[in-house]
């Protein structure tokens, strides 16, 4: 935008919009004047009142299109809203505050995308270097340490880019990732167990509505963490997260402890008949039962709530299954997905706590 003259702006607009020559000229001059004001020293800029652009006309003459194109030229955020009207009873339509919030949301998103684009190449290069570091065979003892851009590295780089190394496996250390707990009504609505649940103000405009609905459904207030919530039920089960090693881990945590009095019911449903058999041969069922868990036969159980294993409305459940949709575990039930270890801890404490 920086050095576009009004004439240039008009010709840019002409590429997309037919007619409206006067309007185009007027908005181009207004935009240019705004830009000129921005270049003034601060004390002088205060003396110049910036002009807003108001376009009035019937539907379909191109007001929105001019605004949209202008926003793009100025790299400014753009939203279209249904007009707020002033009537005898006051303003109707969307309130100004929410419009401005959305506008800020768009601006943040635009800027984020711009910055991401800026560092994209850098990020890709660095990822490639890290992968090469891992893939390259370590130098043999008798050889001098190779410089960063050795022949081997170049060969590997070429292979990597051409997809010849796609079958290679690399290991990534994930020990720094904290236990994840979902807060919403879709598996991707997830946070570190001790992280604040996203505030609506920080969410992309696109996701805002989904987040709003999810928070309302889950009974979550602003500035809350998962650790602030009181749980009613615990379900350790499902084919995905009730393997023998899951049960061993959970049993270790509850061994010698009792299920919290706040928890109405905590159940363990082994992932399969074989898992149940194995667990019982290791005596895990005794540990669970002594702690106050219900030890069940394998089955789907509360993963989908098809049988009577369901949540009552508004009950909150720590569940090791993998779906947390509205009503999945029973009409109006609130599901928080977490690992078997975190679920076991939640059973003992009545809420999500720090495992360390």
């Amino acid at each position: 935008m920086t050095d576009l003259s009004p004439h240039d702006i008009v010709s840019q607009l002409d590429r997309h919009i037919i007619g409206q020559a006067d309007a185009k000229r007027a908005v181009a001059i207004a935009l240019r004047n705004r830009w000129r004001r921005m270049r003034l020293p601060e004390d002088l800029a205060k003396e110049v009142t910036p002009k807003n652009i108001l376009m009035i006309g019937p539907t379909g003459v191109g007001k929105t299109e001019i605004a949209r194109r202008l926003a793009r030229l100025a790299e400014a955020p753009f939203i279209k809203i249904e007009a707020t009207k002033f009537t005898e009873v006051g303003y109707v339509g969307r309130d100004v505050e929410s419009i401005i919030r959305d506008l800020v949301g768009v601006a943040i998103k635009d800027e984020r995308e711009r910055r991401m684009l800026d560092v994209r190449h850098q990020a890709e290069d660095r990822a490639e270097e890290r992968i090469l570091d891992i893939l390259l065979p370590p130098p043999r003892q008798d050889q001098p340490i190779q410089s960063d851009d050795s022949g081997a590295r170049q060969v590997f780089r070429k292979k990597l880019r051409e997809g010849e190394l796609d079958d290679k496996e690399i290991e990534i250390d994930v020990s720094l990732i904290k236990p994840q707990v979902t807060w919403g009504t879709s598996p991707e609505m997830v946070v570190d167990f001790d992280q604040e649940i996203p505030n609506l103000d920080c969410v992309d405009v696109e996701n805002k509505r989904n987040f709003e609905l999810a928070k309302k459904y889950m009974g979550i207030e602003e500035n809350q963490k998962v650790t602030d919530l009181k749980f009613d039920r615990v379900f350790i089960g499902s084919c995905t997260n009730s393997r023998i090693e899951d049960l061993r881990g959970a049993a270790k945590i509850v061994d010698g402890k009792k299920v919290s009095e706040d928890i109405i019911e905590a159940i363990v449903v082994p992932g399969s008949g074989l898992v149940k058999e194995q667990a019982e041969s290791e005596g895990l069922h005794v540990i669970f039962k002594e702690a106050g868990f219900v030890w069940r036969d394998p089955g789907c159980s509360m993963c989908l709530g098809m049988n009577p294993d369901q949540l009552k409305p508004y009950e909150r459940c720590a569940s090791t299954s993998n779906r947390n949709f509205e009503g999945r575990q029973g009409n109006l039930g609130r599901t928080h997905l977490m690992s078997p270890l975190m679920a076991a801890l939640t059973a003992v404490n009545g809420r999500v706590v720090d495992p360390s």
Binding site: L213, M306, R323, F325, G327, N331
Partner: protein, 216 residues
């Protein structure tokens, strides 16, 4: 453009549900999957939103407390044949019941910006046409449906959507999938269309490799 009389048109009332990611648990909760029939799910469609009380398989909608705020409980939307929604409709667990419930309710077309993959394919097996449109067109349709009468018609021949005989958009769908909707074909029917070729192949095979068919 005017709709030609001999075109294949599906039209009717459009019910809009302004949400992303409507999953199959939402479309029909698990409680009702216990039925061993493949029809009769109309009363359980969107059960969690549609009723204020808890339901059970076999209880009809007339014996339930209906939620007056939910669109499918309001006239004329209780007779809707088209459902308009947002992104990723039919995601979540794969269950054909989700399509059956829509179909049994009378929904013939679902318009969304994207679909859960399995749900999308299940639709064609049950005579429900899923239409994918760009997000901005979906936005536009939501506006149009709230401003004016919520009526649309869809031409299957020309793959176009009309409002009051005005063309709004055209859409894309694979020919052979569309054929299933138009002629009401399922997988077996589609296979049987090649009956001659299958028979010819079998006959040649019987001649060339007779030992496969001997019972000794």
């Amino acid at each position: 453009m005017k709709i030609e009389r001999n075109e294949l048109i599906i039209g009717g009332v459009v019910a809009s549900i302004d949400r992303d990611n409507i999953d199959t648990d939402q479309i029909i909760p698990t409680e009702y999957l216990k039925s061993i029939k493949k029809f009769g799910f109309e009363d359980y469609l969107f059960d969690g939103w549609r009723y204020l009380d808890e339901g059970r398989l076999g209880i009809s909608k007339n014996d339930r407390k209906q939620n007056p705020d939910f669109i499918l409980n309001q006239t004329p939307y209780d007779k809707a044949t088209i459902l308009l929604t947002r992104d990723n409709f039919g995601c979540g667990s794969s269950r054909e019941h989700a399509v059956w419930a829509l179909r049994d309710f009378g929904i013939k077309i679902v318009i969304a910006s994207s679909f859960g993959d399995i749900f999308y394919n299940n639709c064609f097996k049950n005579g429900v046409l899923p239409i994918k449109l760009d997000k901005n067109k979906i936005e536009d349709l939501f506006q149009k449906m709230s401003d004016n009468s919520a009526d649309l018609s869809v031409s299957l021949d020309s793959k176009k959507i009309f409002q009051n005989e005005n063309e709004l958009y055209s859409f894309d769908v694979e020919e052979n999938l569309l054929e299933r909707i138009i002629y009401g074909l399922d997988d077996v029917d589609m296979t049987l269309k090649h009956k001659d070729k299958i028979l010819a192949f079998e006959q040649t095979r019987m001649k060339n490799t007779p030992w496969i068919f001997s019972n000794d």
